[in-house]
């Protein structure tokens, strides 16, 4: 305990040492990051892409909307996606699926899984929801036919009429009731 000399000066050098950080901190900073990404996304007016948390209780599950860019074969079509952030985001990529069936060389028509390098091995913490959405939007118009998830679509890519027919066969327009 305290050493007392006749001068009464305490010989105290060691600071109080903190015991431990709170365990909730990790989740807290992810939440902060997601909030600020939402903020950026809402404040920027990127046409045709949008995303929002599915509920106010859970910031880790978002719903997104991507409109096909004009002058691509997907023009005028709207696709719903769901974005699920891991708890160690942004150190790991979010998991993204197409909810609207999307006939596309790099998209699994059944499960909606997406083959995009930045969502897998090329992921980096500098990407954000916005950059992902923009990448997806451009992926629609410029598929990577070298490594298709949907070989049919990849093979039909060079014949736009047939491709469009296939696309429209699978496409279901977004209806509000289903996703609310």
């Amino acid at each position: 305990m305290e050493q007392l000399t006749m001068s009464l000066a305490p010989a105290r050098t060691s600071q109080k040492s903190a015991v431990s950080g709170s365990s909730g901190e990790g989740a807290g900073s992810v939440t902060k990051r997601l909030s600020s990404e939402l903020m950026t996304l809402m404040m920027s007016s990127s046409p045709g892409i949008s995303a929002f948390p599915k509920s106010d209780a859970n910031l880790f599950e978002w719903a997104g909307t991507i409109e096909g860019a004009a002058s691509t074969i997907y023009a005028g079509l709207t696709f719903k996606i769901s974005i699920s952030f891991p708890s160690n985001y942004p150190y790991a990529a979010p998991i993204i699926r197409f909810d609207t069936p999307c006939y596309h060389p790099n998209v699994d028509i059944v499960g909606g899984a997406i083959c995009l390098d930045i969502l897998q091995d090329k992921w980096s913490a500098v990407y954000s929801v916005q950059t992902i959405l923009l990448s997806l939007q451009s992926l629609l118009g410029e598929p990577n036919n070298a490594s298709p998830l949907n070989p049919d679509a990849a093979s039909l890519w060079d014949t736009p009429e047939e491709y469009k027919a296939q696309l429209m066969k699978h496409y279901r327009p977004v209806n509000d009731e289903g996703s609310a």
Partner: protein, 761 residues
């Protein structure tokens, strides 16, 4: 009926007792001896009356000792003690009388000298009645206990007060050599082994013998506490310019420690022993010094912060004290309360609030480097500043070193560094430390960042600052008339370091516009000499400027058109659009009897030009001929001319040109009206207010649009709860309802069954 057995038993007992008292002596000589001894011993022990000189008689101590010895062998000492205590009880009234008498005197005079006398008197009683040591320890302690019990029960409540005063008086004694008259000279047997007998030593010894040190221990230490408190309040209050803790400790060493030797280390024979005896209590007193000082500084903290950096030593004291006493939450609470009362109210200037906030940052960083205190204190200030409409403006103004703010918030010596964004914790950093233990749940790891970063982080995005910067820059650029933009260029360069190149691109364009206009103007002038000197700005990159839509009449229009056509020749792909409300025009108005020179804003010039067509106009006619100008602005422009004595207000909104000066105005230069108020209309719209409001709506709209796009149809209350993602959203669900209703009327959204959705585009 006594049976045989019983008789035998009684017989046995009797023999036993007899043998004990007779101590195996012949006949009953033993008994007689015992009887004598008993009488002698009880007589000897009998508590005598001090006031009765007869009671004080000499005893033959050998006889007494023998008697006690006899009693002891007969195992009758307990009985003797009982008898003695009973005698004491009977004699107690003697002491009570003395106590009452002395206390009465004290109460009448409030003189501690009576208390001292009382103590000595009690001691005399105690010594007079004390049994000799041969009777053994048990009897002595039983006696002491009974005696003390009795005197404590006798002492009236006022004794505590008197005793405290007496102790207080000993502080003065500790330093002196000569005893005051009320302290008798040190009795020889009590001479302590300490080299210098102190005048208050007998007093303390008496206290101890009477058991008062234990009983009144808290009182004694409270006297010392009060002494310390009084000293600290006297020496340290509002003295922030130097470290006080060290002088205080020296004072403790020089003044208090010597005093402490008496109550706490009287028995010590060596300095080493005294030190170890004083250790515990000394530590307590040192703690009290720290606590008192930290309490004092905590009370003064707001003013200390105002005085910063002159008050830095006080803060260092506080830091040291806080490490010893845990008063951090106290400090936070006090400062928060003071801030609420003295800072965060409508009467305080935003500039002052920010300045104080910056001081708080600097001060609390000093006191608590990890920033926990700062975070707790700063939170309400930041929240308050966020509500103030002109916060950004003030911060930005100080960023560019606006002249009026005097000393800017930024320390000139601080290196300019980029804004630090909040970062996720880097656990791979080898010098990473966990959050301090008393950090709140949303404590941000406050890496020591610079003040500007902290201020900018009041808001969620730095875009707001950049926008305000543009407005401010626009104002300043337009105000420059001598074509010297070096200062602004320097500012921009500094800000680039802080906010990054990209954020300030727009400002860069604005600055280039200014230099370009000069170049273009030179070119145009070289083609055709013109009196118009426009500043040509790129509309897209400038904040909204005051854009009145009136057209200049007559010769002004001609000049503008000429310039525009020359410009068009030079830059065929560009169009000039005039901002008629900005700029100044130098006019010389030639009237019949005089020439009036004037530098006026365009609207004034336009009106006077119209008066060259005819002499009398009504306000409405004037407004109609220049286009859309609001009436107050028009009247203000006309008043300028009335003040210059060029026009005359004829009532009924009619104005007449005074070709000949009227009396009272005579020539305009002769009697200018001193009361004319020159009102500077800021060239750039003060965007802050409207934009802040718009911004909220905009954010709200963005968020609602975002959520409806992605989530489809939503009920109103769901929208309300989801809007908590929008920072700064503070509307009620009713307000939201009204907003949604307005949006529905505009066709942005539709509602059915209480569910809102976006209209199909």
């Amino acid at each position: 009926m006594a049976t045989e057995a019983l008789q035998r038993q009684i017989q046995g007992k009797w023999q036993n007792s007899f043998a004990r008292l007779n101590r195996d002596q012949q006949g009953i000589t033993g008994l007689l001896g015992f009887s004598e001894s008993w009488t002698l011993a009880t007589d000897f022990l009998h508590p005598r009356d001090l006031n009765d000189p007869k009671a004080n008689r000499e005893w033959d101590m050998t006889q007494v000792r023998n008697a006690v010895e006899t009693l002891s062998r007969s195992k009758m000492l307990p009985l003797l003690l009982e008898n003695f205590l009973e005698e004491m009880r009977k004699q107690q009234y003697l002491i009570t009388n003395d106590v009452n008498e002395l206390m009465r005197q004290y109460e009448n005079t409030e003189d501690i000298h009576h208390i001292a006398r009382l103590i000595y008197r009690l001691l005399e009683w105690y010594r007079a009645w004390v049994p000799i040591s041969e009777l053994g320890h048990t009897i002595l302690s039983a006696y002491t206990l009974t005696f003390q019990t009795h005197i404590y029960s006798t002492l009236p409540p006022s004794f505590s007060r008197g005793f405290k005063q007496l102790i207080n008086a000993t502080f003065d004694l500790a330093g002196t050599r000569t005893a005051p008259p009320w302290i008798p000279p040190t009795p020889a047997p009590l001479q302590s082994s300490l080299p210098i007998p102190r005048p208050d030593l007998p007093l303390w010894s008496s206290f101890e013998q009477l058991g008062m040190l234990d009983r009144y221990e808290s009182l004694i230490s409270s006297v010392c506490y009060e002494h310390i408190e009084a000293h600290i309040l006297e020496t340290c209050t509002r003295k922030w310019g130097e470290r006080m803790l060290q002088p205080l400790r020296e004072w403790m060493t020089n003044k208090i420690v010597p005093w402490m030797v008496m109550p706490y280390a009287r028995g010590a024979r060596t300095a080493e022993e005294a030190r170890s005896m004083l250790q515990g209590v000394g530590s307590r007193f040192d703690f009290h010094v720290c606590k008192t000082l930290s309490d004092l500084r905590t009370r003064e903290i707001f003013d200390i912060i105002i005085d910063f950096p002159d008050s830095q030593p006080a803060l260092e004291d506080l830091k040291e004290c806080l490490q010893r006493v845990d008063q951090r939450s106290q400090l936070v609470q006090t400062l928060r309360k003071a801030n609420r009362k003295r800072l965060l109210h409508p009467g305080a200037d935003t500039k002052d609030i920010i300045a104080q906030y910056v001081s708080i940052i600097r001060c609390l960083r000093l006191v608590d480097p990890p920033g926990v205190l700062l975070f707790k204190v700063a939170d309400p200030i930041r929240r308050y500043l966020r509500e103030r409409p002109d916060t950004i403006r003030c911060i930005v103004a100080s960023l560019v070193g606006d002249g009026e703010s005097g000393d800017s918030l930024v320390d000139e010596n601080e290196p300019i560094q980029p804004l630090q964004q909040m970062q996720v914790e880097d656990y791979t950093d080898p010098s990473w430390e966990p959050e301090p233990i008393d950090a709140g749940p949303d404590f941000r790891t406050n890496k020591p960042s610079d003040v500007i970063s902290t201020l900018v982080s009041i808001y969620d995005s730095k875009d707001l600052f950049v926008r305000e910067l543009q407005v401010l820059l626009a104002q300043r650029l337009l105000a420059i008339t001598d074509g010297n933009f070096d200062r602004e260029r320097r500012n921009i360069e500094i800000l680039k370091i802080r906010f990054g190149e990209a954020a300030l691109q727009v400002c860069e364009v604005m600055l280039r516009d200014m230099t370009d206009s000069k170049r273009i103007d030179q070119h145009v002038q070289s083609q055709k000499n013109m009196i118009l000197r426009p500043t040509i700005i790129s509309r897209h990159f400038w904040p909204p400027l005051q854009a009145g839509k009136f057209t200049m009449p007559g010769q002004f229009k001609q000049i503008q058109d000429d310039y525009a056509s020359e410009f068009h020749l030079f830059k065929p792909d560009k169009m000039l659009r005039w901002l008629p409300l900005l700029g100044t025009i130098h006019l010389e108005i030639e009237l019949e009897d005089r020439t009036v020179p004037a530098d006026v804003p365009p609207l004034e010039a336009a009106f006077i030009e119209l008066f060259s067509q005819r002499d009398t106009w009504t306000v409405d006619e004037l407004v109609a001929s220049v286009g859309s100008v609001d009436r107050p602005a028009a009247i203000k422009a006309l008043t300028t001319w009335v003040d210059l004595g060029v026009l005359k207000d004829e009532g009924g909104n009619r104005y007449r040109l005074l070709e000949v000066a009227e009396d009272g105005f005579s020539s305009s230069s002769g009697a200018p009206r001193p009361a004319r108020i020159v009102e500077e209309v800021p060239a750039v719209l003060t965007v802050e207010q409207q934009q802040a409001d718009q911004m909220k709506v905009y954010w709200k709209a963005c968020f609602i649009e975002g959520m409806l796009t992605n989530l489809g149809m939503l009920p109103l209350d769901r929208i309300q709860t989801m809007l908590k993602f929008a920072p700064g959203y503070d509307r009620t669900v009713e307000q939201l309802g009204a907003f949604m209703e307005a949006a529905r009327r505009e066709g942005l959204v539709t509602a059915s069954n209480g569910l809102w959705k976006l209209s199909k585009r």
